[in-house]
Amino acid sequence: MITIGLLHSTIRGDEKLILEAAKKRNVLVELIDIRRSIYSEAQPTQRVDVALERSVSTVKGLYAAHYYESKNIPVVNSTAVATICEDKFLTSLALAKANVPTIPFGMAFTVSELESLIKSIGGYPVVVKPPEGSWGRLLAKINDVDALEAVIEHKDVLGTPSHKAFYVQKYIQKKQGRDIRAFVINGHTICAIYRNSPHWITNTARGGVASNCVVDRALETICKNASHAVGGGILAMDVVETKDGYVINEINHTMEFKNSEIPTKVSISGHIVDYCLQIVQAQ
């Protein structure tokens, strides 16, 4: 019988859904709490057929994934995919390299260079984001140079080193105050939701309301190309509708989905388990 090692920290509703889906498929799940694990050559490795990385912390999850890969245990998502997707700048570079439509972006390290960068991507407003992190935290919509100087000074004085690398995107007015989150497994978009919010940040973690989004051919195509650009696996893509078509905003590699199974009527957890089984069978 195949055993999935579920690398976790706290168990959220998402992980409970995965456990339920595995049980329905008669698949064993070994719960591996990374907070209580020691990753050392002196420690025996829990033998599992595939490791599914579901840590809330990106950094800790990535180290755990590296450890299992070093023991020749496949990890979903792989460290190669996670390394790109955990960093918004690296994700944007991968998308641009593969000619996948994305929001105009750039990175700079000083205010004067940021001003030049902002001009080159079409001027204000722009969004400054930490390269790492999620749930819509620490995003700043910058409408003019005064706001830019204030935000950058705060980051310079108060921020950690990664907050002093300024990732900037052109601000895109979202159609009907919504964006799309598409759930993509192995390049196939299994379902998608609209996230509606009166706020310019539409994350469901920030109060965005989820409703079903029918996946059309254009959405399927851009998500397939974006998946290919970052290395595939289990991904959640944030997609914005523009007058020129869809563009990819961000790609998440350890997605939360518990609020999306009901509106889409798709068992995302079931697809996750099935993909893990495919990875084992392909070994």
């Binding site: 976790h8 920290s9 706290t10 168990i11 959220r12 409970k16 456990l19 719960l31 709490d33 809330v56 912390s57 990106t58 950094v59 955990e86 930490p130 790492e132 992190g133 999620s134 749930w135 935290r137 950690t160 973690a205 959640a236 998440n252 590699h253 350890t254 997605m255 939360e256």
Partner: protein, 57 residues
Amino acid sequence: MNAQCPVCDGMVTIAPDTIESEIIQCPECSAHLVVERIEGSHAVLTEAPKVEEDWGE
């Protein structure tokens, strides 16, 4: 199974299918709690960690 909320001292009922590390909510103070250990009919709860810089997708 019942356990005491570490935030408000209220009584929290733990569902039978609850597993260790699961996040639950105190019905009295709404604090998010982690079920750290289940030992027989006894559960140890701690306050769930707050958002950290690299949390979440």
